[in-house]
Amino acid sequence: MFDLNYWPLIGIPVVVIGFALRFNPLLVVTFAGLATGWAVNLDFISLLQTFGEKFMNSRQLASFILILPIIALLERYGLQQRARDWISQIKTATSARILALYFIVRECSAALGLLSLGGQAQTVRPLLAPMALGTATNKYGELPKPVKDMISAHAAAVDNIAVFFGEDIFIAFGAVLLMDAFLKENGITGIEPLHIGLWAIPTALCALVIHLFRLARLESKIAKAVQKYNAPEPIL
């Protein structure tokens, strides 16, 4: 019953501790690999060969590098500015609607493989959060800090959730290709990345419904929060 061999699991605590101590992830992952090899008495040379073999065999994960030149070229000629102008032309009345619209656009474009059309640094901070905050300010006047934080945090969350659950549908180079490589490595053939992508659609649709439902309720949450923080001291 208790002859379970725990040594092959040593990589897991190594990763946890390494990340907790904020070492560089490449270093942490490599060290976890070395520790695991050492724990199961793999000789060093064959461990390095395993490193090399797996690294070589997963080179398709780097294929996203191929799209960077075209994106870089378009950015140089104003792609971001154009996207910004285009989005700002859409006049919607509320913060929640702006976030919902961004969510839809972001999830759909991610599903088409256009992952770099958004992002926390590229669009959320300079564009989405200010737009969402702007409309709320128009409506309620100067916002208390907790309300501002709530709207901004929702802007960040919208970008994460939309891109995560959109990207696997089609060309999420990383995830889909990793799954494909894993299946092939384990002798399961006859599955193309496109098949895996198709099975991501149900969850993606659920993510859309669930998060849009939450956003639909956000506007009244904002109103309540504004009221709460702006309320005068109760007279009793």
């Binding site: 060969q49 398709q60 140089r76 945090a153 993510a207």
Partner: protein
């Protein structure tokens, strides 16, 4: 260059756009960026950054050729040593951004105005052309030479799409493909070591497989759950993916271990589960974990800093209700979709 051609010939499969050719293309591109980095005289970490990308690019440019001439084992050993060096360079913080000539915001605005929505065309071409080639040209062959690598249809189509988009982008903006590759150094450098992390995690997953980590997890699982209880196995796989992703900060790292430990032995081999939906939903369960962990710093902690939030866990707190609901949805979907009987 002649060596490269040799490698190409020796590996020549019956396709025009083979995975080996794609690796060569990536290798050439990365080496071009290495040259550009070396030319960047004011680069704070010029030599080490160049070395980092050179080691990375080598496995693409010379890897298949080395296997053909030196043999697989020697090549793997050399790549393994490069991987250690790559990790050290990144770990010692010797890889950084350089200097880039970016046109002013005003120039970019002007150009955006002049070019208008035409700017979106090349970006949209990438997904569209990829789909078209994957669907319509998958079996196109002349004299038994296929156009696309039959084992890597999506990737071959993507490569063709990128080349098309680059040509169209050249026509629309007037900026040449060479300029485009030079410009991409800014993006590659800003992604930095993170570009290699997925491959490193795949490597760790590979070591876990050799070390039979999955078996240990499998044994752990049998301690707690009867292997004929389909529903509990599905729950364990989904929740396990989310949980491991939370501690490892990345669904990619959790995926090989949990899939080898639970999905492969119990669900695929044990209950004949269909692999494609199983892994797709498994990975998404991991993503639910990503939304709930500070370990996924890029997504959850850095934005809190960027947005000047008082509570650095605020983004995570906002994401938890959606993440937990989606995890439950994944469990239900997996239970109802993957079993064929």
């Amino acid at each position: 260059m002649s060596k490269v051609v040799d490698a190409d010939v020796s590996h020549s499969s019956t396709a025009l756009v083979t995975i080996e050719n794609i690796y060569l293309l990536i290798g050439i591109m990365v080496m071009f960026l290495v040259v550009r980095t070396l030319q960047d005289k004011n680069h704070p970490k010029r030599l080490t950054t160049a070395l980092f990308w050179f080691l990375f690019g080598s496995s693409f440019l010379f890897g298949d050729f080395a296997i053909a001439t030196l043999g697989a084992q020697t090549t793997y050993l050399m790549v393994g040593i490069s991987v250690l060096l790559i990790a050290l360079l990144a770990g010692l913080n010797l890889v950084s951004m350089g200097n880039y000539s970016i046109p002013s915001e005003q120039e970019q605005n002007q150009s955006a105005k002049n070019l208008g929505n035409k700017l979106f065309i090349p970006a949209l071409m990438i997904p569209i052309v990829t789909v078209v080639f994957t669907v319509l040209f998958d079996n196109v062959a002349i004299n038994n030479v296929y156009l696309l690598d039959q084992r890597h249809l999506t990737l071959a189509s993507l490569t063709i799409a990128c080349i098309f988009a680059l040509l169209v982008g050249w026509k629309i903006t007037g900026g040449s493909p060479v300029q485009a590759v030079s410009e991409s150094r800014r993006l590659v450098d800003s992604i930095g070591w993170a570009a290699i992390l997925p491959q490193m995690l795949a490597m760790l997953g590979g070591v876990f497989i050799v070390a039979q980590t999955g078996d240990s997890i499998k044994e752990l699982v049998t301690l707690f759950i009867a292997p004929d209880n389909r529903f509990m196995l599905v729950v364990l796989y989904c929740v396990g993916m989310a949980f491991f992703t939370m501690i490892m900060g990345n669904a990619f790292a959790a995926f090989p271990v949990m899939t080898a430990g639970i999905a492969m032995p119990f669900l695929i081999e044990g209950h004949g589960a269909s692999p494609a939906p199983l892994v797709a939903l498994g990975m998404y369960s991991g993503y639910c974990g990503t939304l709930m962990t500070p370990m996924a710093a890029n997504f959850n902690i850095i934005p809190a800093a960027l947005l000047d939030l008082k509570d650095k866990y605020h983004v995570i707190k906002v994401q938890i209700p959606t993440a937990v609901t989606l995890l439950a949805v994944n469990i239900i979907l997996m239970y109802s979709l993957v079993f064929n009987d």
